[in-house]
Symmetry: C2
Subunit: 328 residues, 2 copies
């Protein structure tokens, strides 16, 4: 199965490295980023390209563009990991549309296109008899989509809730365990690289809300957008409030929740017993799935990181290889 | 896809009910237990059979035996859930062998055959180009095998450890939280139906060890048997020892661990920080998977129960339907 990688930052490079290092039966035949591209129908020399990228900043030649690759016949699956605006979904959205319309499978880590245009992209994939997979868009290394689609297939999912943002979880963990103020904990998160210079996207609950939108649309077909999510961030949580909760063996976490029967779609700081499986430490993510047969299933793992994102992308690629590609 | 169910206790009945109640594309065409059997190539009336079973104790007629069904052409997948001796694996082992040799897929919840004869059964399935699936044998409703095979496919798994026995976890939870003695907690577990009259199999760590054997063989091809597992049960754990651990924000759980690089395959009471994701309450199971790309993934859920076991079996059936059956 031939792979084209669009976007050659840390995630794209990680995917290329894993495919090369492991016996996956996958071949990378095309790579491009905004500056350059390279195609080889018989398989690229990833080692040489990584070296070139490191020394020159280029993965290929400026003559070969992303468009050249997407419209080419050099690949079966597009790995779409280009830097993308989460609000417009571009340029990833255009890339994904073109690849699906051209009868190519797509695996992406970009939340924007999947949260904004789930229905359209899903229909486009079905029309063209290909798969669109996006495990990496929700909770990084946690195989949440695989679990829902296959691991607990046949279950009715009544509710889904959890910790969807590692930055907020780190800040709240530090406030609870060390009695830090919100500002102190945020500063620490920034120093450790867990929070960006402008932390709005994380601490205001937007990142978690976008993940809820993806899940609401993918799991229940709810046709929701970001505007439909009730969002309260963690920036008003005080260490006094956390201390009060801790005295009762509880704590505060930023919980995202989807409960279709009760029309709940919200992200908010929530008091939760410390013994609850969702109370995880530091930057971990955790999700509980309520089902009719299996009861509650909780998944815990790393929600971010380039290796973790590559892990989710590789699992999607291998799923297409094992469960779709050989059907032809 | 046509399903034959062998064994019509609570799990077999649960599987039949779920297939009937949900739009799965599956049809139950044959059912048998030790006393009777029934076949209908166009699909059985499950409602009528359940009613009959309840009033007469029979699912069909004594003239139709398990052997008749297994050797028939009335089914594509055998759901093997007959009451089976975990030490000999019989009668399930014989049933599974015959179905696989006859070119039928097999889904089972019986630990015996899978822990005793993994290599043989695995090879037999491969020879006959069919699948043997056994999600229900390890940790009930937790989709552990699906996660390892697909959710985190492409990852190298270096170590796997967790709480594999709900009875022991219940007893240790009660000893920790209420200061009960081992005997008091065991009595309580018995009254609630969590422990059997003879609790040896659970409290001596044998049940957990059998699950480790299945995982060691399935994940790493380690060719292990029960005799290879170092086992210490929970029957010598004192409430004083737990209280000591609790004073340091730790507790004691029965942890099963597979660490191939360090030749570790053991079940033993282990001191573990109370904040660790594996510290779950009551009868829950929890497993942590250490990987090269995804980091640590922890799965928590119900490890036993007929609905939970049915959930795992249904997921296996749907996986065969989606990812195998339509390849033909």
């Amino acid at each position: 199965m031939r792979i084209a990688i669009i976007g050659f930052g840390s995630v794209g490079r990680g995917v290329a490295e894993v495919i090369t290092a492991k016996d996956t039966g996958l071949t990378v035949t095309a790579i491009a980023d905004s500056k350059s591209g390279i195609i080889d129908h018989s398989g690229l020399d990833i080692g040489a390209i990584l070296k070139n990228k490191k020394s020159t900043g280029m993965c290929g030649t400026p003559e070969i563009t992303v468009s050249d690759i997407i419209s080419s016949d050099a690949y079966d699956v597009l790995v779409e990991v280009s830097p993308t605006n989460a609000e417009t979904g571009e340029p990833a959205l255009g890339y994904i549309r073109e690849a699906l319309a051209g009868g190519k499978h797509v695996v992406t880590s970009n939340k924007g296109p999947v949260s904004l245009k789930f229905e359209e992209l899903h229909a486009l994939a079905a029309e063209n008899n290909v798969m669109l997979r996006y495990e990496a868009t929700v909770c990084g290394a946690i195989p949440l989509m695989h679990t829902i689609e296959h691991g607990i297939a046949g279950n009715k999912i009544s509710r889904l809730y959890g910790v969807f943002n590692g930055t907020c979880n780190y800040i709240l963990t530090r406030m609870a365990e060390e009695g830090l103020t919100y500002k102190q904990a945020l500063l620490e998160a920034r120093e450790l690289g867990y929070a960006e210079a402008d932390p709005t996207y994380d601490v205001k609950g937007i990142d978690a809300a976008i993940k809820l939108v993806i899940l609401a649309n993918a799991v229940w077909g709810m046709k929701k957008s970001l505007a439909d999510v009730d969002i309260i961030g963690i920036d008003d949580v005080t260490s006094a409030a956390i201390a009060l909760a801790e005295r009762e063996d509880q704590t505060i976490r930023l919980i995202g929740e989807i409960d279709p029967a009760n029309e709940i779609l919200r992200v908010s700081p929530t008091i939760i017993p410390k013994s609850h499986p969702l109370v995880v430490r530091d930057t971990l993510n955790a999700v509980t799935i309520e089902t009719d047969l299996a009861g509650e299933i909780t998944l815990i793992g790393k929600g971010a990181g380039s290796s973790e994102t590559a892990s989710a992308i590789i699992a999607d690629l291998l799923f297409i290889r094992d469960c779709y590609d050989r059907r032809d």
